[in-house]
């Protein structure tokens, strides 16, 4: 997955400023930055939800919407709220599967995988934040995609859930998939990510292996504060 001079302006504000990076398969790439640094906007541009002002995001040389069945190439968890509260988790995934000609049995597989088997037939409005997050992750895995994009997947998960998602991401990367995950939990990234991309105010601050970024610092947290110093929005 490559971002080529990816830029997004909202009026006078530059949310993402000429981001030029390559995200490789077979490892977990963490995406870090202060609130408002442009992480979510970047991920939304990867999925063609937001249109870049200039530049582009490519997956194996093609844009997301150029794929015949995009969910089979890229699985994404964006805000976990994007589920109709009146629809059951299973029906949500069923509609999702139909949209990309994914076999229905895959729905029950990912529900099981996400530990939602018991709540699958409850309406999503009754889900806890953690359950909505698990449903979102089940959706991201539905098409068995080689690329997985997760925006703050740990949000709302209990300790068991955090451990589960950590193992899941490591496992997906070990299978050779591209795992691109944003988080503001530095300690979590320190134990999960192999590689880090750090942005601040839309600009690239670092693109290096975790070990390289942490080297010479007591922790990722120290390294991060030094990197983002001056780019935190006040």
């Amino acid at each position: 997955m490559t971002l080529e001079k990816l830029t997004k302006r909202f009026g006078a504000t530059v949310a993402v400023d000429g981001l030029d990076v390559e995200i490789r398969p077979g490892r977990v790439t963490g995406f870090l930055g202060p609130n408002g640094a442009g992480k979510s906007t970047t991920m939304r541009m990867i999925l063609d939800l937001d249109r870049p002002t200039s530049g582009r995001a490519l997956l194996d040389g093609r844009s997301y919407s150029a794929y015949e069945w995009p969910l089979r190439h890229v699985g994404a968890l964006l805000e976990a709220g994007a589920v109709h509260p009146g629809r059951t988790g299973r029906n949500h995934l069923l509609a999702m599967a139909r949209s990309n000609a994914i076999p229905v049995r895959r729905v029950d597989e990912v529900l099981e995988l996400a530990g939602l088997g018991g709540s699958a037939r409850k309406r999503a409005g009754a889900y806890s934040m953690g359950m909505r997050q698990r449903l979102g992750i089940a959706g991201a895995l539905l098409g068995d995609p080689p690329v997985v994009v997760l925006d703050e997947p740990v949000n709302g998960l209990d300790p068991d859930g955090v451990r589960w998602i950590r193992g899941l991401m490591r496992g997906l990367a070990a299978e050779g998939r591209t795992v691109f995950v944003s988080s503001h939990l530095l300690s979590e990234m320190q134990v999960t990510a192999d590689h880090l991309i750090v942005i601040g105010r839309g600009r690239l601050l670092a693109d290096a292996p975790l070990a390289e970024i942490v080297a010479g610092h007591a922790s990722l947290e120290d390294a991060y504060y030094q990197l983002t110093d001056g780019s935190v929005l006040s």
Binding site: D48, P70, L78, R87, A95, R98, S99
Partner: protein, 247 residues
């Protein structure tokens, strides 16, 4: 083509898996039955205009058309909510990651809504006629009931497409409903009250009045063409907004 079929399958599943659709359809049938009963009684009391009579008799299907002025509101709500709930619940972002082609997503939604409003519209037309016929007694006739019900279904299918397109263009339930009600319920009678030729002509070009000309008037094809033009314009506007705006 396979992608459009898949998108339609997803929209079909989405439509039937919330409660909105059931409430809307139930309301539509109740409004139709109640309205048809009321108008049939009016006919019995001699309170209907002469234009309703055909050869001295009141066709039951025409009573269904009169009752449609109430029932169509429930169909409009169903069609409009199928699109605008995507914005009010945030599911539009899910839908667009599943089907990134904006035009295809909108087309799939229109197809599903039109199919549902057509079939249930025909059913509603038959129901209204069925309620009206016995109440009309020897004043009524069953002639043309099937044709009239099919026309009601077709009108509601086109109206459904109009509501979906407008919902995509305006991106929210409140504004969409207000505009639909203005176009179909509020503005036409205001234009018609003074009975001035120019204002009447403008009213004739509004979707609800044109629909009425299609269902009951002497130039049905012109009426259908006008409603269809509204629907096409709404869908084009909706597609343009979906393509231009960030989700």
């Amino acid at each position: 083509m396979t992608r459009l079929r898949a998108a339609i399958g997803a929209e079909w599943t989405k439509l039937w898996t919330t409660r909105t659709v059931w409430w809307a359809l139930l309301s539509a049938l109740v409004l139709m039955a109640a309205g048809a009963g009321q108008y049939a009684l009016y006919a019995g009391n001699g309170d209907l205009p002469a234009s309703v009579f055909r050869d001295g008799l009141v066709p039951a299907g025409s009573i269904a058309v009169l009752a449609l002025s109430f029932a169509q509101l429930a169909f409009l709500a169903l069609a409009m909510l199928a699109m605008t709930s995507e914005f009010s619940t945030g599911t539009i972002r899910s839908s667009l990651t599943w089907v990134p082609a904006r035009g295809r997503l909108l087309l799939a939604k229109c197809a599903v809504v039109a199919a549902v409003t057509f079939v249930t519209g025909v059913v509603a037309g038959l129901l209204g006629s069925l309620v009206a016929r016995p109440l009309l007694d020897d004043l009524g006739t069953s002639a043309g009931v099937l044709t009239q019900s099919l026309k009601i279904g077709l009108y509601l299918a086109v109206l459904g497409i109009l509501a979906v397109g407008l919902g995509a263009a305006l991106r929210g339930p409140v504004l969409t409903l207000v505009v639909l009600l203005l176009l179909i319920v509020v503005v036409p009678p205001l234009l018609q009250v003074p009975d001035i030729a120019v204002l009447n002509a403008v009213a004739d070009a509004m979707p609800g009045v044109a629909g009425n000309h299609f269902l009951e008037g002497d130039s049905p094809l012109v009426g259908l063409a006008i409603v269809s033009a509204w629907a096409i314009a709404a869908v084009l506007a909706g597609r343009a907004v979906l393509q231009r705006r960030d989700a």
